[in-house]
């Protein structure tokens, strides 16, 4: 309702409001990278590198925001509303929780899910001295480990990670542009994040042989706390509008030559008593079988 009361002050304002309004086919989710009250070198670098990975759909907030995501989500919700960002990564450092990262997402400016991880080992892009792939490449995601399927918590964590790293949803991809692979491996309470660059080699068939090379950043994360949305809120958030679903086209087919053919289904018809155009020539002559000829009245 607030969006409707606010009267746009200019054409530009109107366009911004239109872009941020709820839609059937949504925009790509934007991510915000927030620094907490106190951060360590590791945390700042992780935020910067993740921001580079997620450019241009990302925002690195310059100021520090003293917030505790797991206690009070109002600060982050306010920031998400102001910046129109549905995903966030909040970095902080304290004695109790060193090198802390909180990844999360919002629905309708309310917190949906959050997961807190600690960075044990971090290798930045600069440390791994190999050639990198271009900016804003849609990554291929690989999840290894049975824990992502068997463990409830990790299954939801997997959903958050897919949402976070998948990038814009596209209909066509350029085959030579598949250069970036992000791998997540789950082990007892830990997640290993590795980033690779793809090199395609010749194979016997049309599909190439895949060789990969580690390009960074590499992260060893420990899962700390999690906060998942209630089942009904998650269900509500996952609901897709009817208009977005691809509509099945029935009764239309094409033959070998590309001609479009359609099928029409008719009700049952009595062929003897069809309502057609009357053609006098086809009219049956009256009393032809009885042999009587029609009497013609003589003209006077």
């Amino acid at each position: 309702m607030e969006n409707e009361i606010v009267k746009p002050r200019s054409q530009r304002h109107r366009r911004v409001l239109k872009a941020r309004a709820p839609k059937i086919h949504e925009n790509d989710k934007k991510t915000m990278f927030v620094r907490g009250g106190n951060t360590s070198d590791v945390v700042t670098n992780v935020l910067k590198e993740m921001y580079m990975l997620k450019k241009p759909d990302a925002l690195l907030l310059r100021k520090r925001n003293i917030a505790r995501p797991f206690e009070d989500q109002t600060t982050l919700e306010f920031l998400s509303k102001m910046n129109d960002c549905a995903l966030f990564m909040f970095g902080s450092h304290s004695k109790k929780r060193p090198n802390n990262l909180v990844l999360g997402r919002f629905f309708d400016n309310q917190t949906l899910d959050m997961m807190e991880v600690g960075v044990d080992v971090f290798q930045s892009l600069r440390e791994v001295k190999t050639s990198k792939c271009p900016l804003a490449t849609k990554p291929c995601l690989v999840f290894s480990g049975s824990l992502f399927e068997s463990d409830d918590e990790l299954r939801k964590v997997k959903n958050i990670l897919i949402d976070f790293f998948r990038g814009p949803v596209v209909e066509n991809i350029r085959l030579s542009g598949l250069e970036h692979v992000m791998q997540f491996t789950a082990e007892e309470g830990k997640i290993f994040l590795r980033s690779y660059r793809v090199l395609l080699k010749k194979s016997g068939s049309r599909t190439p042989r895949v060789e990969i090379e580690n390009m960074g950043p590499n992260l060893d994360l420990t899962i700390r706390r999690t906060h998942f949305a209630s089942d009904d809120l998650f269900k509500k958030a996952c609901k897709q509008p009817r208009a977005a679903k691809p509509r099945k086209v029935k009764n239309i087919s094409s033959d070998v030559f590309g001609a479009k053919k359609g099928r029409i289904h008719m009700t049952s018809q009595d062929l003897k008593n069809l309502q057609l155009r009357k053609v006098k020539a086809l009219k049956r002559k009256p009393d032809a079988s009885s042999g009587k000829s029609p009497k013609k009245k003589p003209k006077i």
Binding site: E4, A21, E26, C140, F143, S144, R194, S203, T207, A237
Partner: protein, 328 residues
Amino acid sequence: MVVRAEALLQKIQKEQEEKLLSIQVPKTIDVAIDAGNLLACDSNPIDTKQLRSDKENYLKNLAREGTQLLFNEIWKLPIERVQDAVIAKVPSPTTVIPREKPIPKAKPPTKWEEYAKLKGIRKLKKGRMVWDDESKSWKPRWGYNRANDDTKEWVLEVPANADPNEDQFEKKLKEKKERVAKNELQRLRNVARRTGKKVPGVGRTAVGQEKQSKLELEAAFHVSKQATASLGRFQETLKGEKNVKKRGQKRKFEAVTQKGNTEKEKQLSILNQMYKKSPQLNLTKAVNKEIQDGHSVKFVIFNVCSKAGVQRRAKSMFNLFVTIFLSG
């Protein structure tokens, strides 16, 4: 010699095989692939021994296998060629990911839209530019530099039945303000009907004004308190509220008895001002007043080599003389 030839052949065959390496990846549990998200989920259990001993290589292998299987699927998709690039048409993602905003609700029609539908009135698309006879050019129908601009009238006829001392320009401005306010009220009423909530206030008491300061809230409170038929005289005061009858700036009066020569000095200064030859005219103040009232003739003086200040002074002096001439 035969043995050496055989060994050589084997070596060549091995090299050739290595060149054209296989794309097959054997896995106990099938890897689930979501081509729409470029996602491969390998649910095979991890060999913890290998992980601990040779972590990076083991992870790299796992990643390579997953990517290979994903690419096998992607290369099966239909292909197009667009400007030197080979493009695969990717299916929609199968993993359910929540939306960022709720599904938009269909907007119910406004009061006018309902009436138009009832009467069969259709919207006619009007062009942006209109022919303006005055300037003999095409001008926008609305907005900046519009054609047939009512607000730029410099002459207004006083109708026969109107009060001769009434300011027609003021009247026009007032009517426009009223029309704008009415339009805003209608819009808010439509919003209220749409959302099922009560009509939000207009102006100071408007709902949706976020983060009003304490002063703003106080002002809004006092305005709404006075908005009754008896101008707030019989409204109850809240606990802790100071019921002040008169609000606004207090008029300051000087003391009845003053020290020394203050009164004498004041009277003498007034006399001195009256006897001065130069006019006691505060030019900027007078000009600002005229600009505020808005019915002076605007005349642009083009002066190529003059500073902005001088140009403004010249313009304002001209304005002043014209208004004096008109009023006199």
